[in-house]
């Protein structure tokens, strides 16, 4: 670790402040990844309008058929948006970061740091993968009274979920050990990893949409009123 840090410090392309910044950012991404992805989720949710993960979503005047139709549309929509976000993030981030690391950018002005930050932020948009893979579908199907289907579905969701987190950790390790010359290789690896993860997510989406066709939607088993209320008769 000491060698890595010394190498980073000696690297004329990695200012100590930048290195510290990288560390903090990556740690933040790993531990608060979900929070940082909120703007993406908010934008996506705003477009798709209803999440089907709150009780109110089940009480609005929609037939089950309409609900399923919207749900399918939403999953497809999110997959498309996720693809655009992730591909553009990889391309743009790769270009700007390599420029930065190869010394074509000599200063540390905010102007050049912004793309790097945004790139990292967009990497984090792999959380979008979760969106594409169908968090909402998971909620929706989780209400099915049939436990077997529920478990089968959740296991599919779970694989992608953990892949995303393994991906974060791998990124963290690679990013720390990165220097100017290996920057490109790192980005290539990261890109490949992201594409593989994303491909799994898309596959899950397809499977999930298929599952939706076969699953009859059951009951809402969400949050019940907490039993904080004292026994009505106890106080007499």
């Amino acid at each position: 670790m000491r060698d890595i840090i010394r190498r980073q410090m000696n690297n004329n392309l990695c200012h100590p402040l930048f290195f510290a910044f990288k560390l903090a950012l990556m740690a933040g991404i790993i531990f608060f990844g979900g929070t940082m992805a909120i703007p993406f989720s908010v934008v996506l949710t705003a477009f798709s309008n209803i999440n089907f993960d709150t009780r109110a979503d089940y009480m609005i005047p929609l037939t089950m058929k309409e609900r399923l139709g919207r749900l399918r549309l939403m999953v497809i929509y999110r997959t498309l948006v996720g693809t655009i976000v992730i591909v553009s993030a990889v391309l743009w981030g790769r270009y700007t970061t390599i420029s930065f690391l190869q010394g074509r950018v000599k200063d540390y002005s905010l102007w050049y740091l912004i793309p790097v930050v945004l790139f990292l932020f967009c990497l984090n948009a792999s959380t979008v993968v979760e969106q594409c893979e169908g968090v909402e579908v998971k909620h929706f199907v989780a209400y099915n009274a049939d436990g077997y289907k529920k478990r089968r579905f959740l296991s599919i969701s779970g694989v992608t979920y953990w892949l995303v987190y393994i991906y974060y950790i791998a990124l963290f390790v690679m990013f720390i050990s990165m220097d100017g010359s290996s920057g490109d290789r790192f980005l290539m690896k990261a890109g490949v990893f992201m594409i593989v993860t994303y491909a799994v997510a898309v596959l899950c989406t397809i499977v999930n949409i298929g599952l939706l066709r076969r699953i009859s939607i059951g009951d809402y088993h969400g949050t019940e009123t907490p039993s904080l209320i004292a026994d009505a008769t106890a106080g007499i």
Binding site: N51, M59, P61, Y220, I236
Partner: protein, 298 residues
């Protein structure tokens, strides 16, 4: 025609509500009572359409939950103890996102009600108080001109001042004779004040059924409380009329029994003149308590 609940049965692994039936005319408030675990929330969730697979049906003005779910839900509003909306939305966003699904929803009315109820329109729900969350739901319910309001323990998180205002509001809502309110609450005294009808769910083992449905007045009319001495209580309990006693509390100094009105005459011979003078109407809380507990020793 009002609201009809037609034989709703909902089963869980170890519990079910069975064959719940009632007809509630327009312009009245129905209070749903029962002990914790008696299925009040299950029934209200069923009425809200959260259990598509249940048996039975419900209808608002002839629009059935099973046959016309859209029209049924259009006429239904909900106010729940825990907000059913996403905590990451603001009240205004909720109006925009959910209002579009209701034909008669008015954003203008919604915003003015939010203002009236002092609910900030542009803050996340997660930053609002429990009382504000309830008030936001009321604003939403009134903004889409619902015919039936389903309220599940709505007042539990309200402060005393707003609770009074809330109950007044409920009376105002039904005053035009067009709307109906179905409300469950553990605050029996308050529920008694506002309810015209009572639906009492009683759980026996794994099954909960309707123990009573009718007007609150009729329910109160059926029972009497006799305050008596401990000796009189013992006397009554051991006499051949003991089966007439619905429930009672034995304690030193002051005991009381709940009896059916018709039983008063039979019990007369066992009561002193003082006991007879103490006979009074039972309130809802006492009726429910003794029906659930039977005879108790305090």
């Amino acid at each position: 025609m009002g609201f009809i609940c037609d034989g709703i049965t909902k089963s869980y692994k170890d519990f079910r509500i069975e064959d719940i039936r009632f007809e509630l005319p327009k312009g009245y408030v129905l209070g749903v009572i029962g002990r914790n675990g008696s299925g009040k929330s299950t029934l209200l969730n069923a009425l809200l359409g959260l259990f598509p697979g249940m048996s039975g049906d419900a209808a608002i003005d002839g629009m059935s939950l099973k046959n016309s779910p859209k029209e049924y839900k259009e006429g239904l509003a909900f106010v729940l103890n825990t907000t059913p909306f996403s905590m990451l939305d603001t009240p205004k966003q909720i109006g925009l996102n959910y209002g579009i699904y209701y034909k008669s929803f008015s954003m203008e009315t919604y915003c003015s009600l939010l203002k009236k109820y002092e609910v900030p329109a542009n803050r996340w729900l997660s930053s609002l108080s429990e009382g504000q969350l309830v008030r936001q739901q009321i604003a939403f319910a009134l903004a889409h001109d619902a015919k039936v309001l389903v309220l599940d323990e709505p007042a539990g998180n309200l402060d005393v001042a707003f609770r009074e205002e809330f109950y007044r509001m409920l009376r105002t809502i039904v005053a035009d004779g067009e709307r109906t309110v179905i409300c469950s609450s553990h605050l029996m005294e308050e529920l008694e004040q506002i309810s015209d009808y009572i639906l009492y769910l009683k759980r026996e083992g794994e099954v909960s059924r309707v123990r009573y449905y009718g007007t609150a007045e009729e329910l109160r009319e059926q029972y009497r409380i006799i305050s008596c001495s401990a000796e009189a209580f013992e006397r009554l309990s051991q006499a051949e009329v003991a089966s007439e006693i619905v429930g009672g509390r034995l304690r030193e100094g002051h005991s009381e029994v709940l009896v059916k009105k018709e039983a008063i005459e039979k019990l007369g011979a066992y009561l002193t003149s003082e006991d007879r003078e103490s006979i009074r109407y039972a309130d809802l809380k006492e009726i429910m308590y003794y029906l659930e507990k039977g005879k108790v020793t305090a």
